[in-house]
Symmetry: C2
Subunit: 426 residues, 2 copies
């Protein structure tokens, strides 16, 4: 919260593009999302407006554009021919809606994206009052709790995704996890496409995998975290969560966009394990610079609802996201949403997509911490000396990164890292 | 379902834009969303692929573009310099995920929108196998049931939104609804910003409004439908639903994007009233032609989950949506999703935004039916002869439309319509 913000209001910042004078455009947003409508109606008294209207708190012009980013927008009467962009911050009194995430969404997003005066409008950030913590529990484990559950300290949690995504039997899945556990992995997860099909039923898969991991833990003392995908309807998710817990699991994965905030709130209330929030479908809201929502705003909603981990892509990833955006996303996951003595709601960022030893130094230097899950597929499974060497090469890469030793220098005395760099490039 | 489609598969059609050869681009989509990943992994056997891989069912080139619609895309090795667009249809065996809407979303959307080979990718349509009806109830009331609940036949259900959106007391809200009921309105609804704030608590508001409507029904025999906004967390929504039902209400409104599909499924299971599905936030997914989801695909998910009504904007609306898109949306709401003897899951489209008498003929001729809710604000409240005349002018406009009599001719013998046309234009 900035100094000028007051604690009982909701703040939302947007990027806008409009042919309207920017002050008019901002006023239209505030009106549409509070007391106003297209026409001023009789009941919209000055007193009512004073008490309930959204306020324009800030407006910073960002420079002109030559053509509309999105179709369907309009121009004002006596248009000056210019199309401007700006950052706009609106605020609402919390009592308009109370501390409710579903009603918050309708207020900060609602019909805004369709308003004709705008040829672009994107939600960039949200600041919520701590009263939301009276209704929502926030993360149960977050960074510190995930370290406790995995007993991994001083370096990232090294993980991988079970592949192929779908089609393997429970037994084949468990066999793959056994190989990974014996190789020293900290974390494995289902693909988001894996659910409860007849070829690989959830209960059978989770029982088989956790049996392997329980045996491994009994033998070695190391408890590998398995994020089993519980995504489904609410009753199914609660049953699957209970199955994980009954079998000694420590994590459940949920596709956030598939289930909605109210279901996540209920899962959080029931869960005794970490909640791994998968953001698949996120590209629909993020990919266009002119519409949708930033990840910074998006993940705040889910942190309050109770996730412990969420995905941020990775540096030099195989998707379309820039490195700058990846680091911004990870940094925001690790930034408290509320000031002490409130819970801060930090969550653990999950780096994935084309990650190997070579991105460790840049990731560490950009982020300044090892508080992350570092998920590699090819970087582990594709290592020429085998899966265990793959895991070791990643641990070595992070040792080098933390000590600011160039990877190639560290590789001189670490053969697994050396082989990895030869395969993936330094 | 087209003739070539088989009943135990899921079909999804996309618009894509890519610098890759279109067949390669389609194969990348199918691989990413089923058995494949960026690299072929050892477990991805031919047998596994045959059984579980997504298939490319159709690929129709749509013509080239000169520049990428979205940032972040890549080009193939030996790129020919061309960027093409196409319609692609993929299919998956239902047994990959079973009849689960949350898992369906992860499968047909998932990470597709972020894939680097695409500079545009939008989900256009879905075809689901009727097995989904073993897990989901679909609409309880739909068109026919909504007509029964309101006793309105042979014309649209004429409605309006309570304004100002927020800030009125329960008593002032009920007074406004009393005026509207006495004017002959069929349907009123809360604004999506109205929820359960301390100035207008849900229970007090709904009790006051339904008391007015119950008295009105006892006196006149006409039961006005009130879509009270129950949007919130799941326990709150179920309590609010019960409050509506205990007080004789016939409808509950829910912001679909705020709550998610699993919560809607549960509301549907408990509801004895019509579910009014509000699509606010929809612009985030729809506004860009290059990313997101068509309304045609979107509303199918919610119809299966159980909504009875949903919003489609209106002709010459105040938002950025084109008339063509509005009519396509309404038509798809009224089109069965499943063939007999299965439930068709048709829902009632809600026209709103700047609607008045003047859009009735074009709406009727484009849609060919009166099976819709026609919500007007200014068209009713702003009528120069009062609210009752406003309602009558809309009924008259639709009488003229259905009889193919020009509005101006019909207005010669209908003074309320005549006054409306003078105000709003013919």
């Amino acid at each position: 919260m900035n100094d000028h913000q007051v604690p009982n209001r909701i703040y939302a910042t947007y990027w806008i593009e409009s042919a309207y004078p920017l002050a008019d455009a901002a006023a239209i947003m505030a009106g549409e999302q509070s007391t106003g409508t297209f026409l001023r109606v009789p009941g919209e008294t000055d007193e009512l407006r004073k008490k309930f209207a959204a306020r324009v708190e800030a407006l910073e012009e960002q420079g002109p554009v030559t053509s509309p980013s999105l179709p369907g927008s309009g121009t004002p009467k006596n248009w000056d021919g210019k199309r401007r962009t700006a950052h706009v911050t609106l605020s609402w009194p919390l009592y308009n809606i109370g501390p409710s995430l579903p009603n918050l969404l309708a207020t900060v997003a609602g019909n805004l994206s369709e308003l004709k005066p705008f040829s672009g409008l994107k939600l960039l950030d949200l600041t919520l009052p701590p009263e939301f913590l009276t209704q929502y529990q926030g993360p149960q484990f977050g960074v510190a709790g995930t370290r406790t559950l995995t007993s991994v300290y001083g370096r990232p949690i090294i993980g991988t995704i079970i592949k192929p995504s779908i089609g393997q039997t429970p037994e084949a899945t468990a066999q793959q996890v056994k190989t990974l556990a014996e190789a020293g992995i900290d974390f494995v997860k289902d693909d988001e496409l894996q659910s409860d099909g007849p070829h690989c039923p959830f209960n059978a898969r989770v029982s088989a995998v956790l049996d392997v991991l329980n045996t491994h833990a009994a033998r070695t003392g190391k408890r590998v975290m398995y994020a089993a995908n519980i995504t489904g309807d609410l009753d199914q998710m609660l049953e699957r969560l209970a199955h994980i817990e009954a079998n000694g699991g420590t994590c459940a994965m949920v596709s956030m966009n598939s289930i909605g905030l109210p279901a996540m709130k209920i899962i959080r209330r029931h869960a005794h394990v970490a909640i791994h929030g998968h953001r698949n479908g996120w590209g629909m809201m993020s990919r266009s610079p002119a519409i949708g929502m930033s990840f910074i705003a998006f993940q705040k909603l889910w942190r309050v609802a109770g996730i412990d981990h969420t995905h941020v892509n990775g540096l030099r990833n195989k998707f379309c996201e820039s490195d700058e955006s990846v680091i911004d996303s990870a940094r925001t996951c690790l930034t408290p949403m509320f000031s002490a003595p409130n819970k801060g709601c930090e969550v653990m960022p999950v780096f994935s997509s084309g990650q190997s030893a070579r991105q460790a130094p840049d990731t560490y230097h950009a982020l300044g911490t090892t508080d992350l899950i570092y998920a590699c597929g090819g970087g582990i499974m594709g290592h020429p000396q085998g899966v265990a060497a793959g895991v070791q090469s990643l641990q070595q890469a992070w040792e080098a990164a933390v000590q600011s030793i160039p990877l190639t220098a560290y590789a001189e005395t670490h053969t697994e890292l050396k082989a990895a760099l030869e395969l993936f490039g330094a």
